[in-house]
Amino acid sequence: MSCKRFLSLLVLVFGLFWQANSSFAQTQENSPAGSPAAAPIAKEEEKSINITELVFGHVSDSHEWHFFSTTTAEGKENPFALPLPMIIYQSGKGLSVFLSNKFEEWHANEAAGIQVSNSYEGLHIEKGMKEKVIAEDGSAVYDFSITKNVLSMLIGVILLLWLMTAASKNYKYGAMNAPKGFQNFVEIIVIFIRDEVAKPNLGAKAVKFMPLLLTIFFFIWINNLLGLLPGGANFTGNIAVTAFLALVAFIVMLANSNKHFWSHLLNPPNVPFAVKIMLVIIEIMSLFIKPVALMIRLFANMLAGHIVILSVICIIFIFAGMSKVVGGVFVPISLAFSVFMFMLELLVAAIQAFIFTNLTAVFLGQAMEGDHSHDAHDKHAHDAHAHA
């Protein structure tokens, strides 16, 4: 019961923020037109910068969770944002923890095309494509802040832990008890991962890697979905996240690779010497390309999805900037298109989680292939090398 209430509250809150955000953008478009001082060219320029900032402000990480801003009568921006804790480590000063609302005055650095904040405790933030904490004295700064992405991930993790432990509660009444409610949903996915991902790729060792595959799948999926909520963070579309997940896949793959895998990689059989050198170089490259491909695939897909949805929404304001009539006409088209994109992204959220899990299983399977029990696979591998 509390789950439903919480979820609906979450949806309501984010929905409200989203609406407020759009109406804010609308007023912002209108306000320069109202002020006689603004020249039309400057207006155009300001608008294009605003949209780039809006889109990249949404897809990149931030030290505060910005929901919307209102503009006061004097044209001063009044942001509604959740300040997040900043945890900064500097080799000389040690650890310092404070809230991000210490940095609240921003001025533009036109030359570098960035926004620079006021300084606090010898630190300031430079905001370009992403936010960087810079020390005034030029020393190295290690930023372990609970950023928007981290907070979003923590929400996702708590949701995931709570949903899964709730779903698995019923199992203590015995395996033959009929599954009910959310448990059914989880079971369908668990069986799907087991029968379509783990077993075809890992065979007899599928059971051993099931917890890892399931964790990767649900971790990516729930964070993809949270990112789709209006006002949500672009967690899985961040390269640090996908890099970590790819690294997990890579480490597990290396830790479970067998002699057969390495012997084929470093000494492909039945190949002339000159070709062998080339093959080994290609194989070693492909070994590292695998996790890199995993990393970039998820990152690019989620980032692109966010950018496309935001761009489609922003088209309304671009057209409204040209003429109110065109903007008004374009609202339903843009809305229809963004709804379509949103549906597509819902699919992509699940598909990308599945692809990441599946490719992890495929790479793992390749690394463990050709054990003494699998002669058929061995032969297959030979054929593949012959073709290569």
């Binding site: 897809v59 990149s60 990480d61 945890i87 370009g128 494509m129 992403k130 290690y142 930023d143 372990f144 802040s145 609970i146 950023t147 992405n149 981290v150 991930m153 923590l154 993790v157 995931l160 832990l161 899964m164 432990t165 779903a167 698995s168 199992y171 203590k172 395996a175 033959m176 989880v186 079971e187 668990v190 069986i191 087991r194 059971v207 099931m210 917890p211 890892l212 399931l214 964790t215 649900f218 971790f219 961040n238 390269i239 640090a240 996240v241 890099a243 970590f244 997940l245 997990v248 980032l303």
Partner: protein, 164 residues
């Protein structure tokens, strides 16, 4: 481009969160779910095979029952036939016996009738004899009352003797 450089902080927090999620879910969710799914699948497979076995047993029982029924029917026919035969035999025997008994009774009756008829005849004969004697006596007495009568009688007797 800035977007392509991973941030240390996010990487670090993702690492910690992912490991915690992995460890907790592995222990409290994936293990029980996978174990129960395996057990349930095994249980269902066993139930199906048990049902198949019972079905086979049932069909075997059914065929056995049918065989028994056929056998029983045959036995019944045989028994009925035998009973009929016995019945017929008994009726014939009874008839024969009755006939014999009846003949015996008839013969006995006839013998008795004959016997009694003879006895009655003897009695009647005796009676008639006695009556004849008495009549003859009375006649003789009457005839022999006179001398002439006596004489005639004597001559008659003499005549008889001569004839003999």
């Amino acid at each position: 481009m800035d977007l392509l450089t991973p941030e240390l902080g996010l990487f670090f927090w993702t690492l910690i969160a992912f490991l915690i999620v992995f460890i907790i879910l592995k222990k409290f969710a994936w293990k029980p779910i996978l174990k129960s799914l395996g057990e349930r699948e095994q249980g269902i497979a066993e139930s199906i095979s048990a049902a198949e076995r019972v079905k086979a047993e049932m069909s075997q029982l059914k065929s056995e029952n049918e065989k028994l029924m056929v056998q029983a029917r045959e036995e019944r026919t045989i028994m009925l036939r035998e009973a009929k035969e016995i019945k017929d035999k008994m009726i014939i025997e009874a008839k024969d016996q009755a006939k014999v008994e009846a003949n015996k009774i008839i013969m006995e009756a006839q013998a008795q009738i004959n016997q009694q008829k003879n006895a009655a005849m003897t009695e009647v004969k005796n009676e008639i004899g006695t009556l004849a004697l008495e009549v003859a006596e009375k006649i003789l007495r009457k005839q022999l009352n006179s001398a002439e009568g006596q004489e005639a009688y004597m001559s008659m007797l003499a005549k008889d003797i001569k004839l003999n």
